[in-house]
């Protein structure tokens, strides 16, 4: 892709203040208008708004880029600033020409960052400090809770370094061979997919509490399912939802209603339980 290396000299340069402002906006807005249809699209748009206004003086360009940035986006808010940073570096250097590259980058990286970010922020940190804090809290001792507050403050401060880091990485990548960005994105996706694969049995908790009895011998449905494969029900549910999402009239809003109803009905009849 030879065009990838063609740098158009744009007079407009982003300053440190621009980066900080983006960081600040990302912090407060990324999920503020979260919705099932496009999840964090508005948050991303809100974050980029000042940058867009600065870079695209032509109104048509501005509108098109706003549209692009209001497409489906969803990632872990704690680490997503990195993607914004990369995006800013690329747009600063290549302007609207980079529209497709940026769309691809966002679509490619959001999943991996969600997987890894959710794991660290949603699983690892709370598991550690939550267990310390809860152990102490059960005795009425607030030390653990206060420690946790301090950790959360520290994490908050650390979040301010991710966007500039993304920005500087993005700058480097622009000068790198055109296909390096793709390879990095691919590698990141690979990591993300691996983590998502592990999320299925970890995060979804469902078993089949049915028990069949013949005389004294009882046969637990879950035991038979486990003989086939561990976490078979979660896998089946994910596969079913994935397949449904590919159907024409299905979208995330409808899917969530459907899964909710399904869960309540199957749960009420005792066919599915939380493991």
């Amino acid at each position: 892709m030879p065009s990838a290396n063609t740098k158009t000299e744009q007079p407009v340069k982003l300053t440190k203040h621009d980066l900080f402002q983006a960081n600040w906006r990302w912090l407060w807005s990324s999920q503020i208008c979260w919705n099932y249809e496009r999840m964090m699209s508005t948050g991303y748009l809100f974050t980029m708004l000042p940058t867009l206004k600065k870079l695209y003086k032509n109104e048509r360009d501005l509108i098109e880029m706003m549209k692009m940035h209001n497409q489906f986006f969803n990632t872990n808010a704690y680490v997503g600033g990195f993607i914004v940073g990369m995006d800013m570096a690329i747009e600063e250097n290549k302007g609207r020409k980079a529209e497709e590259t940026v769309a691809g980058l966002k679509a490619g990286l959001m999943g991996p960052f969600a997987g890894v970010g959710d794991t660290i922020v949603g699983v690892i940190l709370p598991t550690i400090f939550g267990s310390i804090g809860a152990y102490m809290g059960l005795k009425g001792n607030p030390t653990g809770a206060i420690l946790w507050l301090l950790v959360n403050f520290t994490v908050l401060i650390l979040r301010f370094f991710l966007l500039p880091l993304g920005y500087s990485q993005g700058e480097k990548l622009i000068y790198a061979a055109g296909d390096k960005l793709n390879r990095i994105t691919d590698a990141a996706i690979l990591l993300g997919v691996t983590v998502v694969g592990a999320l299925i049995p970890t995060v979804v908790s469902a078993n089949v509490p049915l028990v069949f009895k013949t005389g004294k011998v009882a046969l637990k449905a879950q035991t038979v399912l486990n003989q086939i494969m561990p976490s078979l029900v979660p896998v089946a549910l994910v596969a079913f939802s994935y397949w449904l999402l590919g159907k024409k009239r299905m979208n995330s809003t409808r899917l969530i209603v459907l899964v909710l109803i399904l869960g309540i009905v199957l749960g009420a009849f005792g066919i599915i339980g939380k493991s």
Binding site: L27, I32, G130, L190, L191, G192, G197, V204, S231, A268
Partner: protein, 268 residues
């Protein structure tokens, strides 16, 4: 002990802030322990607040809102539970018995809030078309209200009507419904994962999905371990997708390739 008006006010504000905090700065985040702690301070009984919060915390260790799925709202549960435990003086078990069903019922309001914001999204679309960046920004910020009120209003009402009414409502919940809601809560993360998989090039990397699954389901490797494995595989992938002849040569200064490197130039 009767609850004072300023306590109702503070707890309602805490509930409003609770969901905003989660989706922004993450100081109290979605951790019941911390809300029990703060509610305890407001109610003047830190210990009760901590114990209620800690008990609920242990029920949701590592539970999160992955991919937009809702989690049991034990944060609201901790606020209500602590408040009524202190008011009624009926102790921790009473608080937990109240907090858990409240937390499960609140899930529906989380879903509602996430629905409602679609309204603002479509307004944003309209103003983008007009190039009206101000109104674009403003409508995005409006999202704060569905979020905040989805927690503030129920907490305010529950504190106002008194625990007896709350408990009646909660007790009225039939067993099949609570079993159903529990099961639904267990499988809701499925949606987030399925959406993620749709937006990732899953087919292309299906092998790694399987490997991640095997690692967690068969080998019980915890998340960080799987992430390390994924990292190792990602690096291997990255190196291999580069120039094939490269593997042999980078960092091997002692080896001066001639013929093969000449070929290598045309590759990849």
């Amino acid at each position: 002990m009767a609850i004072a008006w300023w306590q109702i006010l503070l707890l309602t504000m805490l509930a409003f802030w609770m969901i905003i905090d989660q989706i922004t700065v993450g100081i109290l985040a979605n951790y019941p322990l911390l809300y029990g702690f703060i509610a305890g301070i407001i109610m003047g009984d830190v210990k009760t607040g901590l114990v209620v919060g800690a008990t609920l915390q242990l029920m949701v260790l590592g539970v999160g809102t992955y991919g937009g799925a809702s989690m049991p709202d034990f944060m609201t549960g901790a606020i209500i539970g602590t408040a009524y435990a202190v008011i009624s003086g009926k102790g921790i078990d009473f608080a937990i018995g109240l907090a858990v069903p409240v937390g499960l019922l609140m899930v529906q309001l989380d879903v509602l809030a996430r629905f409602t914001n679609t309204f603002f999204l479509h307004r944003v679309d309209r103003y983008i078309e007009k190039g009206d960046t101000k109104r674009v920004a403003r409508n995005i910020v409006y999202g704060v209200f569905p979020w905040g009120l989805s927690r503030a209003i129920p907490v305010f009402v529950m504190l106002l009507v008194g625990n007896r009414v709350v408990q009646k409502i909660v007790n009225a919940m039939p067993e099949w419904l609570s079993k159903g809601l529990t099961a639904a809560g267990g499988i809701l993360p499925v949606v987030g994962i399925a959406i993620l998989l749709r937006f990732l090039p899953t087919k292309r990397f299906i092998s790694y999905l399987i490997i991640g699954f095997l690692a967690a389901a068969y080998l019980k490797i915890p998340m960080l371990g799987v992430a390390l494995l994924g990292l190792a595989l990602a690096i291997i992938y990255y190196k291999q997708s580069g120039h094939p002849s490269k593997n042999n040569h980078d960092q091997q200064d002692t080896h001066k390739g001639g013929f093969e490197n000449a070929i290598g130039e045309y590759e990849d």
